[in-house]
């Protein structure tokens, strides 16, 4: 695989600083100066002085972020002074994301409601207890009384929040199997 970058003018130190910043930013893990030097095809001293520049820059302007050396590499992170606000934000973040297990369980409940845990087990073929707990926590489903059978298991159905989060006026707006067939059978 040829990833070579076209021959260019030698980069200015400012440019190297900017690219180092961009690479530290996109990296999932602390990135070493060795790797940075390789990607930039510059020597290690140049890269290291660029990093130094960058660290000073972030410190100098009292940024909310800092470049830190960690586990032998460099990483961008928030400054510790602001951890209260960061934590507050992380808590308020609307989290509409679902694991596949939760999504499957929600699908069964949405289409088969009211559904009991044994019924969901029967359809999904796997235990769904923790998925149900997640869905209850997220208020996507709600308990809808007990079923009058052996063990009187709790029944679950979708909630009002479910309609809101999925943009439905009411349950009749759920796509039907026919809608899906329209999409899969059509040819372009």
């Amino acid at each position: 695989m040829d990833l070579a970058i076209e021959e260019k003018q030698p980069r200015s130190i400012g440019e190297i600083v900017s690219i180092v910043e961009a690479l530290i930013f996109v990296a999932d893990e602390p990135i070493t100066s060795k790797l940075l030097a390789e990607v930039l095809d510059e020597n290690r001293e140049t890269v290291e002085s660029a990093i130094e520049n960058l660290v000073r820059e972030y410190d100098g302007r009292e940024s909310g972020l800092q470049i830190r050396e960690i586990a032998g590499g460099w990483q961008l992170g928030t400054r510790t002074e602001f951890h209260d606000e960061v934590r507050k934000f992380l808590k308020t973040r609307p989290n509409a994301r679902l694991s596949l297990a939760a999504l499957e369980t929600l699908a069964v409940i949405a289409y088969k409601q009211p559904a009991t845990i044994p019924e969901i087990l029967e359809i999904r073929g796997v235990q769904s207890a923790s998925a149900i707990k997640t869905l209850l926590d997220k208020r996507l489903i709600a308990a809808k009384g007990r079923k009058e059978t052996v063990g009187r298991p709790m029944q679950y159905g979708t909630s009002k929040d479910f309609l809101i989060q999925f943009g439905l006026k009411d349950l009749s707006e759920l796509p039907s199997i026919e809608d899906f067939e329209d999409l899969t059978s059509g040819s372009v």
Binding site: A22, F25, V26, A27, D28, E29, L76, G77, V86, L90, A96, R97, L98, S99, L100, L103, E104, L106, A107, V108, A110, Y111, I117, P118, L121, E122, I123, R124, G125, V126, Q127, T149, V150, G151, P153, F166, G167, L168, E173, L174, P175, S176, I177, D179, F180, S187, V188
Partner: protein, 256 residues
């Protein structure tokens, strides 16, 4: 949820399809990508350097049909819409051949049989241009990267769901289920050995299971009896334990 994606790549600079008709028996076709019959028509009009407001319908219709025939001879499946358009073109062509007076209208007032097609082409062209602009936007956007994972990001792979995801997932579950049920219908009566195996698997997969749950998935009285014997047998012979934390509380079967 891996879905099949369309394999065609999209590139406005790509060579458009065209015929090389150097000799009558050597027709070469370079296939390109047409998004539909209107797209093909626009291409043919451009190729003829014709005015879209004054389409030489006979010529364009011939070219269009030639293309369709070639596609068919190459066993390329054609959407029905391409055939419908062929019929429309032939119809317009025949109307154009008729003297306008036949309709009892003055020539100036008579509607051009091509008008509806022209309108559709213009409308389509607008959206084709819009698509091109969207494409340019996406190219710029692909040059911007967002940050890598940081500590506060959740590690588990999650899905951001829509109602169609719900339906798709539900259908997959049903498909899975249908297979299982068909297998089970085939065997009329279950033996104790089979029941032992089934329950053992469920406990080992789940780690622990509510006794009630086991009985609820049994379909006949005989199955429930067998299940009961199987549970006792498992507790006696294998590393499976029955626990009950409160009187009349749930009875849990647990793998030790």
């Amino acid at each position: 949820m891996e879905q099949p994606t369309e394999q065609l790549t999209f590139d406005f600079d790509k060579v458009q399809p065209h015929f090389n008709t150097e000799s009558p028996d050597d027709i070469k076709l370079t296939l390109g990508e047409f998004s539909g019959p209107l797209d093909l028509l626009l291409f043919l009009i451009k190729q003829e350097q014709a005015n879209i407001f004054d389409i030489p319908i006979a010529k364009i219709a011939d070219e269009y049909l030639k293309y369709i025939r070639l596609m068919k001879s190459l066993d390329i499946s054609l959407a029905a819409d391409f055939i419908v358009m062929a019929a429309t073109l032939i119809e317009i062509k025949s109307k154009m051949l008729l003297p306008r007076e036949i309709f009892g209208e003055a020539e100036a007032d008579a509607e051009d049989p091509r008008q509806e097609l022209i309108d559709r082409l213009l409308e389509h062209q607008k959206f084709k241009n819009a698509a091109e602009v969207l494409y340019e936007f996406s190219i710029v956007e692909q040059a911007v990267f967002t940050r890598g994972q940081i500590e506060s990001d959740e590690n588990n792979v999650e899905t951001n769901a829509s109602v169609f995801d719900l339906l798709a997932v539900f259908q997959k579950i049903l498909a899975r289920h249908v297979k299982e049920v068909q297998m089970e219908i085939a065997r009329e009566e279950i033996s104790l050995a089979e029941m032992l195996k089934r329950i053992r698997e469920r406990i080992y997969n789940a780690g622990e299971i509510d006794l009630v749950e086991i009985f609820q998935t049994m379909r006949t009285k005989q199955e429930i009896v067998l299940a009961f014997i199987a549970v006792l047998e498992l507790v006696r012979t294998e590393s499976v334990k029955l626990t009950q934390s409160a009187t009349f509380g749930e009875i849990i079967l647990r793998k030790i």
